[in-house]
Symmetry: C2
Subunit: 292 residues, 2 copies
Amino acid sequence: MSTEGTELAEIINGKAFSANLRAQIAAEVAGLPYQPGLAVVLVGDDPASKVYVANKAKQTVEVGMASFEHKLPAETTQEDLLALVRRLNADPKVHGILVQLPLPKHLNADEVIAAISPDKDVDGLTVVNAGRLAAGLPGLVPCTPLGCILLLEDRLPDMTGLNAVVVGRSNLVGKPIAQLLLQKNCTVTMAHSRTKDLPALCRTADILVAAVGQPEMVKGDWIKPGATVIDVGINRVPGAVEGKTKLVGDVAYQEAAAVAGLITPVPGGVGPMTIACLLRNTLTAAKRLEGR
Amino acid sequence: MSTEGTELAEIINGKAFSANLRAQIAAEVAGLPYQPGLAVVLVGDDPASKVYVANKAKQTVEVGMASFEHKLPAETTQEDLLALVRRLNADPKVHGILVQLPLPKHLNADEVIAAISPDKDVDGLTVVNAGRLAAGLPGLVPCTPLGCILLLEDRLPDMTGLNAVVVGRSNLVGKPIAQLLLQKNCTVTMAHSRTKDLPALCRTADILVAAVGQPEMVKGDWIKPGATVIDVGINRVPGAVEGKTKLVGDVAYQEAAAVAGLITPVPGGVGPMTIACLLRNTLTAAKRLEGR
């Protein structure tokens, strides 16, 4: 049975939402007596990373922030990279520091991330920010989880008592999203590859978050009618035309959209929120650092 | 209908388990080329705290560790308390630091806890240790959650795929237990006062952890037959004889024991594990600090 053409769910348009968020950030930045600054460190020549860093820099400037790009050669030593991070920690013009991952293999990414001041850690990757999130203290939340919760808050202003199921337990996405949903008073279940009868569990979810990195793993009949589905997956798969590829999420979109009440598409759902949330974190960090 | 006399569950004897754990710790301490040391800081004259600190000191000495007690007057200033914590951080004979809570009201407990070196934070209260736990990194886990997971590991060596429901989302107990159960590959649900139909949710649990501080809130018919029930509650309620009190857990024990497969009693279940886990954390901290 084809479900094409029977789409019922309302689409959560992350592209429009993120454009609006960036406009709000720009308006707030324009009214500040200082200019928030974001430093991005890129080591080596990975083509995808270069495109992504250029895009970040463009959007940073567009909201009126200062963008500091540090492009280092692939053979940069650990010591030199750590020294740069320490200089950025001490630089009062820099409110946010992002080290583009992955780093070349001879470098120790964990040590580099640990060297970033938690108050400038706009990617929310440090242990201190993970601890602040777990403890419900103000901190900097990883950008993709923050993007998901902003999209949800917009559509579901009161999530109290809703059953949320998060599929995937990565430190970067699944676990922080679970913490944020708990703060919103959801009953939160953390599911993963070892979960038994995942389809049945997913069918109990009022809010279903898929963050597993498996193309179209979550099927239409895993979804409770009317549920809100947040698809964090971005998977490149072969397209209809030979030699071409396309992007799909962790959710079988057409099937799911026929059952869900609200759903994020891929592309154009959670993806566009990431850089917008990076800018929001930079603004948050700047206000805290300048407010001291 | 009375369920008295129909007890089916096997009792998890935390008193015996903790005595055995302390004996193991003592044996390991005896073989070390250094003596682990635990510093306990007590401010003021709260009678319950004094009893508890004396008990900790006694058990510390019994396992062959050094016990450093710092008893400060109730009028101690924040500055003096912070200065003591910093001296203990720097003292190579001290591997664990515990500041007995609650502190007198004029003192800022959050600031004092934040001053404790995360590597000596044997209560697992610092933001850094919360972050390490969330990230699955080696750290120091709060004592009561650690006690629960040790009792569970002993009876359920493989928890993979089991449904665990944690009722209560405190930073000190509920949230860390959820993280530890997730590390054991359970599917973990965090429930709380805003959860809808808590009895039905509890009935899905293979492992049910009650950590709410509500006397006998979890009833027998909330429990799946054969489930493992961990009762973290310690509530003092009026006893059968007027003027006398008794201790009960968060679980209605007689009813629950008629349904569960394994259950911790109150007293004598999770409670005795706390000090034993404090000593275990001190040993863990000492080995890491001395191993550097």
